[in-house]
Subunit: 454 residues, 2 copies
């Protein structure tokens, strides 16, 4: 085949996978119910030049290219299309530089998030973005989807840590964006344009990332509430009073029970909502005491501060297990990712409960409450066509509610295949036209991740 | 005149200025040696609809438009071109909303930076970006140039506080970008594309800004060094040790003497470099003591911590006066704005001193040292053609040195007219092509701020 022969001109044999049994494993990410095609080939380049060769070949032969990281995404953005080249960046996994004076790291896209976190920790530094999949997901994937995590309420999302990029364009040329300085305003911010663009504008082959000094270990508390609304009141109060928690998470009753059922974590089964707050300040106990008092004022029935970092870790572990636990409730789940203004969080959760009731479904909610970012997870039986239909409808209704409350259809998971139809609704016609114009500048032939965002 | 008549269709008489004696005052910003043309008209709209009418008229008649804030810019980005419409946003100066729970403000572009800062302070909130001109400059202008300030070393630049925008496009259509939520990844980051675009892509008519809780009042120290290199060593050490100063500024001997000559501030005239550090932490005195010790280890001859916020303010006032004071050294100045990786700060300052010597010029340097952002200010006699030529050449050589050290030609002042020729050098041919493509998407007729960035 011409495509494969051309790829072989500059890629070693082991970097080109064509066996359908093997390439099938690269067809999709972790999103449920997103279509995935059959790739013609999977390539695993190790150098920028090899990536350039792949893109030049794709352009010459007009073959679509689907860039891929660790495939832990939750929106199908990395799913293959029929006949495409899957361009997996996982073998480009070198940490090129860690510089404590400039507080930057220079990395290849395949570096695993946790590997980078640990490497910079050894220099007394901190790379905050921590998606739930941080032990597996890659920095390139994090950049592609502008990933968040638990730390965002204090430290922000991936976008805020990307200073500069090397990007291979659709035609194989290399573009360098941004800088390795703390500040810089020369030209348009192309760096941020690539962050969150889900592989639709170019292939990130190198990134300059900002680091922070490592904060003290965080200490957490858990507060039980008689309603999600009361827990949301506490969230608003905590933020309005100027506190800066390093984590502020909410689990509803369904989530709590699912976690207990799976892992016997001893969470309070009978409570309606559990709020987890943590501080990595010099005196976390004092901050926790203040926040605990605000929780009680908002109606918390019980406030349990962790005495040690180990106790805190256990609480966070429970929170991190939520999605996995909810996946066991029924045969299938659809995980939503609606972010609303913090002040609208209670309305979002009440509305979600009403939607669950209307459709007769179990919808468990965990939320990055401090950011107003909810993950309503619709649990359903995929073998029951009617329940599946209701699941899909409720999923859509949750997004509609988010937009109505001034929110966004995706806080951190991205659009991918899953929310493609909804993107136009959020962007509006003028926004959509500008997006398409930008896509055409970088990828005039429409070869990069076609059928996804744009 | 057809243009004026059409503008009158939707703008009140007082919003249209045509008297050359009046419009002349709107021809340029505060940059020296940047050409400015003669505007055909200055318009001062008060509503989004009026801005839309101006842009529709400009598009219909193919008249260029130069958007303007408070004209405190230092790169000529707001300078008029011949026959243009100067579109001044200063009358759109309403603070529409301040929301302590969501930690956002919604503002019109003409709001003065200091006015916003004070208004949010009343709610216990903090809008960090603080350019030196903060008492005069407008938020719209800050967004256009992605302004920095003294606080950036801890709190970052304007870009990091812009969540969403309403933008009137060249053809008069309204585009809404971004969000009012803490997180959001739906579509490309158009918001950041507009930040720092110097009015070349659209007219910002409304902004959603992120706020922070108000930090404790900062406390500062001053440390005297026998060389700028020793001061830079201290800067690197402070940052490498994980300190988070709210300010870390350097003044060289020329700057110190200029400030003393103008304002009798009692700065140590005989020292080679003065480093100012401040902390707004819960225990600033402890942080200052640690940083003071690092300064001494790096060779500081004297470390003077402020005992009170009033003493701190006095130190910062001296720093804020530097540019004004340097303007009195000779009849003219050219203020540069080169940002290098922090680890290259000493090389940048030594190199700048060598350039001053080579050209026989006085070049005073103050620097946002924590960010590696230097402001070498070339002082010269504008009536002396040879000295003027040497000034311009030294100015360019400083930028070349910055690029060579891995830096950028502009850390926070922008490109405007002043550094237009240099932008291509920093971006490279591929970057330049992508920039031009984006410009064409938003402004296909090239009417927005022509002859500037793109």
């Amino acid at each position: 085949m011409d495509l494969i022969a051309r790829l072989r001109d500059a890629l070693p044999a082991e970097a080109i996978l064509t066996d359908p049994d093997v390439t099938g494993a690269y067809a999709h990410d972790m999103a449920s119910f997103c279509e995935a095609g059959t790739p013609a080939v999977v390539v695993l380049p190790r150098t920028v030049e090899q990536v350039q060769h792949v893109m030049r070949t794709a352009t010459a032969l007009r073959v679509p290219v689907v860039p891929q990281g660790a495939r832990t995404g939750l929106s199908g953005a990395a799913n293959a299309s029929d006949g495409c080249i899957v361009l997996s960046l996982v073998k480009m996994d070198r940490i090129i530089e860690i510089n404590p004076v400039d507080r930057i790291a220079v990395v290849e896209p395949g570096v695993v998030n946790a590997a980078l976190s640990r490497a910079v920790n050894e220099h007394g530094l901190y790379y905050p973005p921590d998606p739930s999949s941080w032990e597996e997901c890659s920095i390139g994937g994090n950049i592609g989807t502008a990933s968040g995590g638990l730390c965002c309420v204090k430290y922000g999302v991936t976008a805020e840590y990307v200073l500069g990029l090397d990007v291979v364009l659709a035609d194989g040329r290399l573009l360098t964006t941004g800088r390795r300085t703390a500040k810089g305003v020369a030209g348009y911010d192309l760096t941020r344009l690539f962050v969150g663009s889900e592989g639709s504008l170019g292939i990130v082959v190198r990134a300059v990332l900002a680091l922070r000094p490592e904060p003290p270990q965080q200490l957490a508390l858990a507060a039980e509430f008689p309603s999600t609304a009361a827990a949301c009141d506490a969230v608003c109060e905590i933020m309005a009073r100027g506190h800066a928690p390093s984590l502020l998470e909410l689990m509803d009753r369904t989530s709590i029970r699912a976690v207990n059922a799976m892992a016997q974590m001893g969470l309070p089964d009978s409570t309606e909502a559990l709020l987890l707050a943590a501080f990595d300040t010099p005196e976390p106990a004092a901050d926790l005491a203040a926040v605990g008092a605000l929780c009680e004022a908002a109606g918390a029935t019980e406030v349990v501060p962790a005495e040690t970092p180990a106790e805190s870790d256990l609480l966070l572990q429970a929170r991190r297990l939520t999605l996995t636990a909810l996946e066991r409730v029924k045969s299938a789940t659809m995980i939503d990712d609606v972010c609303v203004p913090r002040s609208k969080l209670a309305a979002m959760l009440d509305g979600t409960a009403a939607i669950a009731e209307k459709y007769g479904l179990t919808i468990g909610v965990c939320a990055h409450a401090g950011d107003g970012n909810t993950h309503p997870t619709v649990c359903f039986d995929a073998n029951d066509p009617d329940e599946s239909r209701r699941a899909r409808e409720s999923f859509d209704e949750i997004m509609a509610l988010g937009l109505e409350l001034g929110g966004t259809i995706t806080g951190e998971h991205g659009v991918g295949v899953l929310k493609k139809e909804w993107l136009a609704r959020e962007l509006g016609p003028v926004g959509l036209e500008m997006h398409r114009g930008i896509k055409a500048v970088f990828d005039p032939l429409g070869l990069l991740n076609p059928g996804k965002v744009f």
